[in-house]
Assembly symmetry: C2
Homo-oligomer: 321 residues x 2
């Protein structure tokens, strides 16, 4: 997951000086925020600080981050004419600030831990572009898929192309792995996933620079896991809604998995956190190819000491094996 | 799912004269609304019109239905003292209007189709009581479970007892089956479900009047299905996020299943609805014990003709088998 966030005082201090979008676009500040969890928490990798919607800005649909209520798209894409009107993003020029951030982070890390780059998956990015912001039911997205499948396909092709360039730019700048976040894919049933998403994800993963591991993550995916595996990725991310052992069996033991502690557990007292972290490690059974992680992002009210305690607990329990 | 709703002109006409809570509490109007889908759509069963939160009112936590933004609880239950303060509902007196509605519906149906009673499951009802309304992350609920497990257990016991009495009252008044809606259970991972929900659901199902089939429904449950089966119910409801054949195998073919068309499909044109309804029936494979249904409730913008078309399509395709 993105590691830096409002639960950290260091992050809040920087956010007091920059709007969210400014922070993403300022390589010096974005690099500093990327490094905060490494310095403060002792995690085993840095995760690029960026937003999955940065790639939406060059599409020309009017991305805005309002105060408090999340991203808004001024001109949502709802039909054939809207899709035809999309700009094809020139990723290399319009998102160059992200590659600059990667270069700075790499230099500051000096090889201490690897850097994981990241991007939103085309479906999840498309969901904002079509709905006009966050959604609960994704009805506009589904209506576009069902009633205008050629336009849906075109939208996905535009996003796949831009996302592949974007991730390859991060890899060229030094990211040692990349993570593709399909955060809201769990809104779809397997039949929709197979028809409207899977072919595009296969193209995306096939276009990534070879030799760089790709992590494929989504939430609410317990019914989609075998299809996500089929879509691609060297590591499949599991959220907390599936038993880790069951989820790993569903994707196959010849692929690695990442997960899957419920981030809500971090609100509880450390002895309880320890119990639940141990349960995740037990479900992984010490099998090589398990990357301990949360099942989704950290809530802003989480005590930072609890996150630090979790890192220590996982290190300690993993070393014992 | 609850069948009557804002997508029906007949329902909107009644709602123009009654607030939501008034409608639920007026047996004449609630019976009329319950019957609308039977008359208008030709469905094979009537589903009692009521709200899952009616049972919350006698707890004394201050239930209100605001205009537009859903139910609010004035005094959310967040800790030991709040739980200790709960009223034990006298279901027979405080929810007698629901039993009166059942009696009226039964009389009007005159045996044409069966009547399915319903109630919210204790976890889902508790989620409103603890969060104070609808939620996305259920952090207060999880914190109560993790940090105050004895109070969580007490809250669930109160709700199990009230819900069992409530459903048995509906059965006594004539409901031929009952449905238990654990709408938001998909927020929990399997470990939480096993520890904090399953034992209570077992008690609930064991206390229902014998001989009346019970349907056990939730959404986002692809990772929970074997545990929901273990918890109880003669029919397990499947939402659209799991393949019906896979979901049925997960709960076992010795139990019936209900589901699982994505309600968003009803926004598409009827030929597409037909294609997707057929896919659900194909996944069921003509096996006895499949009840065709949507995977969740009907969206308010759904054209009523599409819902009617679906009923006809399912009747036609099922008769062919």
């Amino acid at each position: 997951m993105r590691q830096a966030g409002r639960y950290m005082a260091e992050y809040r201090a920087i956010r007091a000086r920059h709007s969210f979008l400014e922070l993403c676009k300022n390589p010096e500040a974005a690099a500093e925020v990327t490094l905060q969890p490494v310095e403060k928490l002792g995690v085993d990798a840095a995760i690029l600080f960026a937003d999955i919607l940065l790639i939406v800005e060059p599409l020309g649909v009017g991305l805005e981050f309002g105060a408090g209520d999340g991203p808004r798209i001024a001109r949502p894409v709802r039909g054939d004419a809207d899709v035809a009107r999309l700009n094809i993003p020139d990723v290399e020029s319009s998102l160059g600030f992200v590659f600059d951030t990667v270069t700075r982070v790499k230099k500051a890390l000096a090889g201490r831990v690897p850097l994981i780059g990241f991007a939103g998956a085309p479906f999840t990015v498309a969901s904002y572009v079509v709905e006009g912001g966050a959604s609960r039911e994704y009805l506009h997205v589904k209506r576009l898929m069902y009633d205008a499948p050629a336009s849906w396909q075109r939208l996905m092709e535009v996003l796949v192309d831009a996302t592949a360039r974007y991730l390859n730019g991060q890899i060229a700048a030094g990211a040692e792995a990349v993570q593709v976040f399909d955060s809201w894919i769990g809104a779809l049933g397997p039949e929709d996933y197979r028809a409207f998403v899977l072919p595009h994800m296969r193209v995306l993963f096939s276009r990534l620079a070879p030799g760089t591991p790709a992590i494929h993550f989504g939430t609410g995916t317990a019914g989609l896991l075998p299809l996500m595996r089929e879509a691609g990725g060297d590591v499949i991310g599991l959220d907390w809604r599936v038993d880790l052992a069951t989820g790993w069996a569903a994707v196959g033991h010849d692929v690695a998995v990442q997960g899957n502690l419920d981030p809500a557990v971090l609100l509880a007292a450390p002895p309880y956190i320890r119990k639940r972290a141990r349960a995740v490690l037990d479900a992984a059974g010490g099998r090589p190819g398990h990357i301990f992680n949360l099942g989704h992002g950290i809530n802003k009210d989480t005590p930072v000491e609890h996150v630090k305690a979790l890192v220590e607990i996982v290190h300690e329990l993993s070393d014992r094996r």
